[in-house]
Amino acid sequence: MADLRSDFVGIKSPNPFWLASAPPTDKEYNVVRAFEAGWGGVVWKTLGLDPHIVNVNGPRYGAVWGADRRLLGLNNIELITDRPLQTNLDEIKAVKRAWPDRAVVVSLMVPCEEVCWTEILKQVEDTGADGVELNFGCPHGMSERGMGSAVGQVPEYIEMVTRWCKQNTRMPVIVKLTPNITDIRYPARAAKKGGADAVSLINTVSSITSVNLDLMAPEPTIDGKGSHGGYCGPAVKPIALNMVAEIARDAEMAGLPISGIGGVTTWRDAAEFMALGAGNVQVCTAAMTYGFRIVTEMIDGLSRWMDGKGYARTSDFTGLATPNVTDWQYLNLNYVAKARIDQDLCIKCGRCHIVCEDTSHQAITATKDGARHFEVIDAECVACNLCVNVCPVEGCITMEQMPAGTVDPRTGRTVPAEYGNWTQHPNNPSSVAAE
């Protein structure tokens, strides 16, 4: 059996599955239920200064659904905790005492004044919590008051606040980043410069999920008005994966631990984040969609997959995919593939044909000898993969690499055996000719 125990910046947990700072971690009651269900750790719902903030009394969430109302994306306009600070601190202390083997990290968001941070850090330390996470991420509400993503969008502020925290606590400091910026590496580098032990990402993406066409107002609508919210769940996973990879492969941030967040729903999502360099993962929407029991599947799925692959510990595969994320300019332009349609699996829906015909390269037939028949025309196929993506039958259309030495009927050129990228390409005005 694979060993799922996790050590993230010195914080130990029985597995790498933490609940992200959000409603699932808002109270002792929820967190105890989460630990009973098997979660490795929690990042407590973000604490702020008293008097505690208030939330709207109308709907907080909007959603995007797929088939059969499967929740694909969730959007929220909830603020940080709306309970008194002392209540939260007392509960954190009680939980940590009762569950010493689980990770309890406390998320914080206070105004950009050093004294605010020093004071709250002391109070958190007294609870016996394992670490803090600085919430520089929430894109709604708190950002209007100069906190959350308003800090996370200014690298200098990130660095400054991180430094204050590091100077005022012995606890590990994790900096939670907002995706609502153009290049995630700048805030991440700032966190590192400020001395952060780790970064966690992503927080939610600024969003309007839909517009109510009767009310002519965004959803969720409160008394006729709506406000942008933060988007999360399966829909944001691709954004989060990319941001994790960008940080993981950045030379300046080599070795900076990452806690991966954003759309983690199954063990596979978690494995993907970790393969790209995340030391652990945090989950919010999946728990808010299905309840805490999903962690059972996550633990079982990850450990079976690790057993199958021969990975004894999570660190055995963490970051293994990172070196394979590269810049476009280094992709091998001498790699030539063609789509292949397995005629035995083909159900003749014709989707590959029509998308290639209407929107791509006219490389798939519709008929052969007068009968409905879908086949790739190698002389036209550029191997774009669109047909593979739209085919409803898994494995029916595949991309087959052309062996070196064969002639690509589209270009008439022989497929070279050696690697060749854009930097070396004759069409590139600044190319460096290959030796």
């Binding site: 088939a67 159900i347 003749k348 829906c349 014709g350 989707r351 519709a366 409905r372």
Partner: protein
């Protein structure tokens, strides 16, 4: 009201009216909005979709399903009605398992096609519930056209002609329009007076004058119609019934299945219909199945269908055969009636086993007897030939444009040789004949 053999056990009220009402409830209940969304989502929006090719009326199925998926059921219904104004009935009665749903690529992929029929019903029900007819009659052409027969073929023809701006008179011999939709289709496929509501819907376009109780050959003639109108369409179905041609056929226990069904369809309270304890149905088509199943649903104890060939030759689809069997109907293949008997307590039909021999179907000489209180014959209907148009094997001959041998006279539906005895085909032919008439009159 079946009579049965003399002295046979035939009576009403075998089941309570509640039981009968439950038995005759919707065979395929309507989809809810959520169910429809889920079902619609399964459609792949195929290129040159095979389902559409398989539909005799050529409905753009992929498009209407996409409209349902996009929460636009009225738009979906319009897509359906553009091709098939009786899309509501077809959604209920089409043997989709041998038409669109058989062709659906998901049938090939996983044996579970997109539920096209039920989705079609969802969309058409939605629009029809609005009570607003979605079409306007075309700008008047000043032409008058006579349509004889207000069954699916005649209704589709009349509607398309009105759409093109022609003034239509729709004649039917019966007191109520609808044809077999009203009098033939199994009650559990179209409960709740749907057939009647649909006729109202179709006529809602305007410019169609309905004249019921007017029979061709009795009250009107082809020559007279040709004189008074610019064109004539015949959609008169098949009024007659094939004979068994065996001794005993004239006994009181032998009745016509279509007649039996028509009575059932017209009954206020079906539980008041007299029904035999033991019913034998002779035939292998939709009528045989429907007569057998409905007998069973009315409380008959033993119902047996006897068909002279094998299961694969039955005109009723596999789904229909399964339905009959799950309702408790026994189906016996490879036997033909040789004699109907009513001698003392011995009432029923003597059958001879058959096999396919070199010269076609032949008897094996071995016989058996099936006791019955009522025998329903469902061995096909025949044209009650109107004077005039050329016929072939009992049906009116038409060309590809649905023109008969008579100038200015078109025909479609069950009464023509080109049909396949399906509602949807009758609709397609009525519509296409209207297009042809329009081309001829405006050329």
């Amino acid at each position: 009201m079946t009579h049965g053999f003399e002295g046979a056990d035939v009576k009403a009220g075998r089941l309570t009216s509640e039981q009968v009402a439950a038995n005759f409830a919707d065979l395929h209940p309507p989809l809810t909005r959520h169910e429809a969304a889920v079902a619609a989502d399964r459609c792949y929006f195929c290129y040159d979709a095979p389902c559409m090719t398989a539909c005799p009326t050529g409905i753009d199925i992929a498009m209407f399903i996409r409209q349902i998926a996009a929460d636009n059921p009225s738009g979906a219904a319009k897509t359906i009605f553009d091709q098939n104004i009786l899309g509501g009935m077809c959604a209920r009665v089409c043997p989709t398992e041998t038409l669109c749903e058989e062709a659906c690529v998901r049938e090939a992929a996983e044996g579970k096609p997109v539920e096209i029929g039920r989705l079609q019903r969802f969309a058409t029900d939605h629009l029809m519930a609005d009570g607003v007819h979605p079409y306007q009659p075309g700008v008047s052409t000043g032409r008058k056209i006579a349509v004889v027969g207000a069954g699916p073929a005649g209704l589709a023809c009349a509607h398309r002609l009105a759409l093109k701006g022609h003034a239509v008179t729709l004649f039917d011999a019966k007191p109520k329009p609808g044809g077999l939709n009203e009098y033939g289709i199994a009650a559990y496929k179209t409960p709740g007076g749907f057939a009647e509501a649909e006729v109202d819907f179709v006529l809602g376009i305007g410019n169609i004058t309905l004249e019921t109780g007017k029979a061709l050959g009795r009250d009107i003639s082809i020559d007279g119609l040709k004189w008074d109108y610019d064109a004539v369409f015949l959609g008169i179905g098949l009024g007659g019934v094939n004979a068994l041609c065996v001794p005993g056929e004239d006994l009181s226990g032998v009745e016509d299945a279509v007649e039996f069904i028509a009575e059932l369809r017209s009954a206020e309270d079906p539980s008041a219909l007299a029904i035999g304890r033991r019913v034998v149905v002779i035939g292998g088509g939709m009528t045989a199945i429907d007569a057998a199943v409905q007998s069973k649903l009315l409380g008959a104890e033993d119902v047996t269908i006897v068909y002279r060939r094998g299961q694969e030759s039955m005109n009723a689809s596999l789904f229909e055969q399964d339905l009959a069997q799950t309702k408790g109907v026994a189906i016996k293949h490879w036997a033909k009636p040789v004699r109907v008997v009513c001698e003392g307590e011995r009432r029923g039909v003597e059958f001879e086993y058959t096999r396919s021999g070199s010269g076609g179907l032949e008897g094996t000489g071995e016989t058996f007897f099936v006791a019955a209180d009522v025998v329903l014959k469902a061995i096909g209907q025949t044209l009650e030939t109107p004077e005039g148009p050329a016929t072939e094997r009992g049906r009116i001959v038409v060309d590809a444009e649905l023109r008969t041998s008579l100038d200015g006279v078109w025909a479609g539906g069950d009464c023509v040789a080109a049909g396949d005895d399906l509602t949807v085909t009758a609709v397609a032919q009525g519509r296409d004949a209207a297009e042809s008439i329009h081309r001829a009159l405006t050329a």
